[in-house]
Every structure is written in C-alpha cells, then in structure tokens.
C-alpha cells in the first residue's frame, strides 16, 4: 500500500515532504496515475497538491499574470484574465485532452511532465514564461526554457515543488496563433504543434515574432532563424516558405507510433504557412 497525503495548505505539504522516503507530488493524476498503472514509475508514497489554496488560481502580479501550478486546465479556460490576456495559452488548452482530462489535469502537471508534446509548453515558451519553485526554505525563479532540461526532465530539486508560472504578456502582439496536428480532434496527443505571436503593423509589416514548436524535438523547439526571416517582411507565401525552410532545419523530430520524423519535419514548416490567414485585410 502507498500512503497518500492530502495537505490542505503549504505547511502541511512541507511536513509531508519531510517524510522518508519523500512522497512524490502529483496534482490531477492524469499523467502520474497512468504511469503508475503501466509500472513506468512506482513511488512509495504520494502527496496530492489539489487542495492547497496557495498553489492555485490566477492573479495579476508585477504587470503580468501568476498562474498557480495546481490550477486545472478547465479553470484556466474559464478565467477572464487568461482569456483576455493569454489567448495563445487558452487556444492551446482548448485542444488538450478532453473535458474530463481538463477538469483534472493542471498546468503544473503539464510543465513538470516536460513532454515534448505537452500542449501548454509551446505557448509558454513563446510568452517567455518563468517558473516559481518552492521548498520549505527556498523560493527561486527561472525561465521555463531553462527549467525543462530534456524529455521528462526538469531542474526541480527533490525537496521542491513547482508553485506557479509567471507570464508577462506583451500587449503589442496582435497575432496569437496556435495549431496542433493530431490524429483526431479530441484526446489526440500532438504530432506537431506551433505557437506563434506576431506584431504586424497596420501597413502589414511584421515587427516582432515569437515561434515555438511542440513534438518535433526532445523539448520545445524555438528558432531564432525562422523568426528573423519574418522581421520587416509581410505575411506572404514566399516569406513564410522561407521561414518554413529554416524551421525544417531547426527541428529534430523522431519516428514514433503517431508519425514519422520526415512527416513531422515537413509539417513543422507547413504550420507556418497558416499564418497567411492573419494577413491584415
């Protein structure tokens, strides 16, 4: 039998984490309990973070938004601040899993799973999200891009938990685009995805661009080259084809049950062509 702790506040959590052996944190369980069942992981004890008020909710802070790690995807999708200020994240969340999975799964769980297919990750990379890590005695912050160190690997120390993620959306971006290629519309793990933020001037010139791809590398892929190729240009087919070629060079996809590496490489570029739809009229 595994002990399972259900702390109701941070103090109770720290006390639970001091036990030997330290219980493994989980929140919605939509990744961890699947891995438990398959035997991929077998911790001696668990601690569930779903009842800790300090780890959940969305609030305005330092000009940006702080999102508690234990906030479910469904709650984020309903949140007026997220809808108004983080439409890119909201779009990605609406493609994640299914309604019951979104009622249980959390943004913190998605980040800590650190899967290249984690749907909140490309938007959070494009938005330069920053994670807040806490233990009883410490609190530190680092860019999400540094926190995720490999597929399924993060910089989390054993005594730490992810408390939240901070995003400071730049209101001058006027194109918020997310697209995910999956085998079906619901409950489809991503084959490739693209999160894009653009600032396009009224005359149609691209003034700033942030691009991040999911599922086409060991972690989220960013490409300064592809971004550079867009700056000062217009959203025409030729410009996007040029950026797409650079994107295909930047990604390092693998073959798996869902798609081949070659398909993923091709589609990573093609996903950019959709940005043509955002051309100012």
């Amino acid at each position: 039998m595994k002990e399972v702790f259900l702390p109701g506040n941070l103090e109770e959590l720290w006390r639970a984490l001091e036990r030997e052996p330290a219980p493994r944190p989980y929140c919605g369980g939509t990744d961890l309990l699947v891995h438990l069942r398959s035997g991929k992981t077998d911790p001696d004890a668990l601690v569930c973070l779903e009842r800790i008020p300090e780890l959940s909710g969305v609030r305005e802070e330092e000009g940006g938004l702080w999102i508690g790690a234990a906030t479910t995807h469904a709650r984020l999708l309903d949140d007026p601040l997220v809808r108004a200020r983080l439409p890119l994240l909201a779009r990605a969340l609406s493609t994640l899993g299914s309604p019951p999975v979104r009622n249980m799964g959390t943004i913190g769980g998605n980040i800590c799973t650190a899967s290249p297919a984690g749907d909140t990750l490309p938007p959070l990379y494009a938005l330069d999200g920053e994670v807040e890590l806490r233990s009883r005695d410490s609190s530190r912050r680092m860019p999400l891009r540094r926190f995720i160190t490999g597929p399924g690997e993060t910089a989390l120390r054993p005594d730490e938990i992810l408390a939240g993620v901070r995003v400071t959306p730049d209101g001058t971006y006027n194109v918020h685009h997310f697209e995910k290629i999956g085998i079906r519309r619901a409950m489809a793990c991503s084959i490739a995805s693209l999160a894009a933020l653009l600032r396009v001037s009224s005359s149609g010139e691209i003034e700033a661009a942030r691009l991040a791809w999911g599922s086409v590398g060991p972690t989220v892929v960013v490409s300064g080259e592809a971004e550079q190729a867009l700056l000062g240009k217009r959203l025409t087919r030729d410009v996007l084809e040029d950026a797409a070629e650079r994107a295909r060079k930047a990604v390092s996809p693998i073959d798996d049950v869902r798609a081949s590496a070659a398909y993923r490489r091709e589609v990573s570029g093609n996903l950019l062509l959709r940005l043509m739809e955002h051309r100012p009229l």
Partner: protein
C-alpha cells in the same frame, strides 16, 4: 483510513486504503457498477463520476481525493423511482446499444446542460469528446442531448 464524502446525495464514509482508485471503491465497496472501467488510462470516459458537479475520471483519482467531495454516479442522477430527462431522451432517441458508455455519456451530457441550457450540436460533441462509444456512431447520443435540452432538461433536474 476513513474517508468521508457525499455519495449520490447522502453522507457516506468508507474505511479503505488511500491509494485505491475511485472506480474500484465505488464498484467494489458501494456496488455502484454503473461506474465502468474501460481503459483505466483516461481515454474512454466510461468511469466518469461527477465530482462537485464536474465530470472526472474514477480511474485517475485515488480514494483519498474523495474526502469532503460531493460525488454523483449514474445511480444517483435520476429522482427516486424515475428517470432523469436525459435518460428518457437516450431511450427515445435510441442512443443506447450495449450501454457500456451510457453512464459516462449521460453524466457528461447532464454536466453540459447545467452549464448551458441550449447547447449547439458542436458544443454537445465537444462535451462528449472524452467518451468513446463503440456502438452507436454518436449521432443518436448527440440527438438525445439535444432533445433533452429542447425540453428544458435543466429545469426538471433534481438537486
């Protein structure tokens, strides 16, 4: 450990290991076999339970997480001796064949109708998108939710 919660409108307690799955506790300790296990990995929706009114998956929740919550299974949805309007609509529309997916489908549909009294077909499809049905082809399930909505299934719902 002893876990206290509300089950189908009544106070309940169970003395069990904290790491058992909710689907197992409800089926084995409470005999609520309307909670089905299809995949055990979150993909099929057969194990759906309403937790504080939201559809959640009994196969991905541990017993300890029931503490203090309000759980409703298909057995508790209908008023005593009757049927929930959505169950009536499922019968009329032929939305049930083998019935394995039906508890999850009805609970998902009822949660949708609580959020939105007159959903469109696209919204209904979205609401049941976490539920697999190997028999009906889904159209009749969508018809049934639409039919119940048209009759104002929300108003008649028992709390």
């Amino acid at each position: 450990m002893i876990i206290g919660f509300t089950l189908n409108g009544k106070k309940a307690t169970v003395d069990t290991r904290p790491d058992r799955r909710v689907v197992d506790v409800l089926r084995e300790d409470f005999g609520l076999t309307g909670v089905k296990e299809g995949c055990g990995t979150g993909e099929c929706g057969a194990c759906t339970v309403l937790v504080d009114g939201e559809p959640r998956l009994g196969c991905l929740m541990l017993a300890v997480q029931m503490e203090g919550r309000d759980l409703v299974t298909i057995e508790g949805l209908a008023p005593e001796g009757g049927l929930h309007p959505l169950q009536e609509a499922f019968l009329e529309c032929g939305a049930v064949q083998c019935g394995f997916c039906t508890p999850g489908m009805v609970l998902a549909g009822s949660a949708l109708l609580k959020r939105k009294a007159s959903p469109g077909r696209a919204e209904i499809r979205e609401a049941i998108s976490g539920h697999l049905c190997r028999c009906t082809g889904y159209q009749k399930i969508v018809d049934a939710v639409e039919t119940a909505a048209a009759r104002g299934g929300k108003k008649e719902e028992t709390e």
